[in-house]
Symmetry: C3
C-alpha cells in the first residue's frame, strides 16, 4: 500500500449556511481550485443562523479528533464585510480560519499558546471579491493555502487580541456550582457545562427546570423514559437525559437554562 | 493517469445522528486520524432516531452499489454502552461495522455466508473511551482498521448468532400475498415489500389504504396526480405512486401499512 | 509533496433527492465503482422537489468556482424514464450531465458554444437498469466516465436543440426595468434578477412587495432590522435584505415576486 502523505491536507467546514444554497459548494470549489488534493470534511452547516456560541461549542467538541495539521474553516459571520478582522490561528497543532468574532474562543481557552494572524495577504482572495461572502472569497482561499502547506507568517500580521466569548466556566457559590445548559442534541440530551473534574469525589445532585436529579447512569438505555437521569456525555460534560425519549422535550429544557449542582 | 489503488479504502457512514451536532464529524476525524487516505461517504444521517429497521432498509438498498471491499459503518444504537455486542461482518465482498441489534439483518438475509466477529480488540478504541458514543470511540476505529487493510481475525472473536430483525418476506395466503409498506421516500412514493419474482407471470391487483390499484406504469410521469398507480421501483420492490405529487400524502399511507396483492 | 493530478477528477452532485433516502449514496457508489479515485462533492440535494428552475440557478451560481474539468451531475428529473433525453454537455471548460429539461439553461445562456450529446452509449449504464432512477443507472456512470477522462464523442450522438428555460433576462420598459425575485436564501436575503451592469451609472430605486428601496449598503451588518436595504450579493445580483433578520419573512417576499427598478 502507498505511504500516507506526510501532511493530511484536510479542511473541515463549519458554517450556518445550511445546505440548500450554493454557498457551501462555492467554498469547496474555491478550495479545490487552489489545490485539488485537499480533502474537505463537513462538520456541520446547520449552526443556527448567526449563533457564534453554538458554532464555538460544536467546533471545540470535535476538532481534536481530526489529524494533527487539519485546517478548520469556521464561518458564522454576521459581520461579514464590516471592520471585523479575518483570522488565522495555529494552536494545539491544528489551524483555524474564520472571522474574529469569538468562534474560536473555546479552542483558545483550552489551548492558549496560539499564533494568531489577521488574514491580509491579497493573494489569498478570490476575485471578484464580494463584501457579502468572505467564506468563499477570503476564508476558503486562506484555508486552502494553509492546508496545502502555506506558512502562517505569509497569511498576514500577527495579532494578540482576538474577540473572546465568555468562557465556559461555571461559578462556584457556597456548597454549589452554578452552571448552564450548553447544548441540546438531536436526541434531546441536555449537555450541561459541568465537567467531571468539578464534581469528582463529591456527592452531588443537580437542579434544572425545576426538578432535582441525583441518579447517574452509565449508558442511556439503563434509565427509563419517565425518570430523567444524569450521564457523563461524550464531550466530557454532564448531560441530563431520558432513555428512549427527549429529555429536553419532556422537561422543557432549552439552551442557556440554569443548572445548579449542590455538593454534599 | 496513475493506477487506481488495489483496495478502494472507502468507509460509508449511516447513522441517526443528524448533521447539526458534532457526532458525525468526530467519527470522520477518528477515521482520518487512523488513516488519512480513507475516503468517507455519507449514506445518510437522517435515519429516524433509534429506527433500526429503517436503517437496515436503507443500507440494504445501496451497499451493493459501492466497490467491493467498501466498509459500511452503520450506527443506530439505542443500546450504546449496554451489553449489546459491537459487530464486524465480512459478507458479499463488503464489510460492515456497527451494533449487534439487527441493523445488518437484510444484508445477511440476502447473503448468508458471512464472517461475523465481536469487536473486542482493545487497540480498536479511541481513548478516552465513553459509554455514550461508541460510533466515535469503537466503531470508527474498527471501520478504519478494516478499510486500511486490517484483517477480520484481528478484530475479535467469531460469533454466529447476531441479532436479526424479522425478514422482509411476505406471507402467502389463498390466492394472495400479504405485504406491507417498507418505506416512504422523499417524493411520497410508497415502497411495498412485494418483489418482482413474487408477482411475475401472474395477473394481480393490490389493495392498500382502502383502495385498489391494478394500473402498472413504467415511469412516474406517465401517470396522473389523481390516479395512483403501481410501478417497479429502483430497489426492486413495487411502489405505489402518483405523478407529480406524493402518493403517501394523497392516500394517507405510512410505513408499516398493510398491502394485499390478489393474484388472478 | 506529490504533484497534483493533471485532471482533478471531480464530480459534483446536485439533486432534489434529499439526503434521507439511499438515492444519493447509490449514485456515489456507482461513481466510485467506475473509478474509486473520483472526488465527489455535494452541491445540494435540497432542491425543492421537481424544481428545475431552482436547480438551474444554484448550479449556475457556483459551477465556475470549481476547477476546470469538473463534471457537474445535476438530476432534478420529473420525466425520468420518459422520452426526455439524457444529456452530456462540455462548455466553459466544465462538463455537465443530467436530463434534457432546462437544468443547464443558465450555464448555456452565459457560455453558448457548448458541445452537447445525448447519452446513448450502452456501456454507460448500470445493470439492472431501472426506469425510475436514471441518476444511479445512467447519469452517474456517464459522469464517472467523463471524470475519469472519457471522451465526449464516446458518450453519444451530438444534439443542438436542448430544452431551454426562459432566460434570466429582465424586460426594459420606459425608464424602468421589470425584474423578479430569483431566490430566497437561508438568511432570508431576496436575490433579484437585477445585474450590476444593468444599473451601473444610473440613479435608481426598486419597488418590491409594495415598498420602495433606494438605500444601498455594502455589507449586511451596516443596515438595521427595521429598514430593508439593497445590497450587491455574491452571485452578482442585487439582493433585498435586512440586517440580522430575514427580509423575506419581514416583507413577505417569495421567489417569483415582481421587482421594478425605476431609473432616474
Amino acid at each position: 500500500m502507498p505511504k500516507p502523505l506526510q501532511r493530511p491536507m484536510i479542511v473541515t467546514l463549519l458554517t450556518d449556511f445550511g445546505t440548500a444554497d450554493y454557498f457551501v459548494a462555492a467554498m469547496k470549489g474555491v478550495i479545490l481550485q487552489r489545490d485539488p488534493r485537499i480533502r474537505i470534511i463537513d462538520i456541520t452547516h446547520e449552526v443556527p443562523v448567526h449563533d457564534v456560541e453554538s458554532a464555538a461549542y460544536v467546533l471545540f467538541s470535535c476538532y481534536g479528533d481530526f489529524p494533527v495539521g487539519t485546517v478548520h474553516l469556521a464561518v458564522v459571520d454576521p459581520g461579514v464585510g464590516s471592520a471585523r478582522r479575518p483570522l488565522a490561528i495555529a494552536v494545539a497543532r491544528h489551524r483555524f480560519v474564520g472571522p474574529d468574532n469569538g468562534i474560536f474562543s473555546y479552542v483558545l481557552d483550552a489551548a492558549p499558546d496560539g499564533e494568531m494572524r489577521r488574514i491580509d495577504n491579497p493573494s489569498l482572495r478570490r476575485e471578484p471579491f464580494s463584501t457579502t461572502f468572505h467564506g468563499r472569497d477570503l476564508f476558503a482561499p486562506a484555508a486552502a493555502f494553509l492546508a496545502a502547506g502555506g506558512a502562517m507568517e505569509r497569511v498576514g500580521a500577527e495579532i494578540t487580541d482576538p474577540v473572546r466569548l465568555p468562557p465556559l466556566e461555571n461559578r462556584s457559590v457556597a456548597g454549589a456550582i452554578q452552571a448552564r445548559i450548553l447544548h441540546v442534541d438531536r436526541f434531546g440530551n441536555c449537555v450541561t457545562s459541568l465537567r467531571r473534574e468539578e464534581l469528582r469525589g463529591r456527592a452531588w445532585r443537580i437542579r434544572v427546570a425545576g426538578i432535582e436529579i441525583e441518579d447517574v447512569r452509565d449508558h442511556y438505555a439503563s434509565g427509563t423514559e419517565e425518570v430523567p437521569f444524569a450521564i457523563w456525555g461524550s464531550s466530557g460534560y454532564l448531560e441530563v437525559s431520558c432513555a428512549g425519549t427527549s429529555a429536553a422535550a419532556r422537561l422543557g429544557i432549552r439552551r442557556g437554562d440554569r443548572v445548579l449542582a449542590s455538593l454534599a
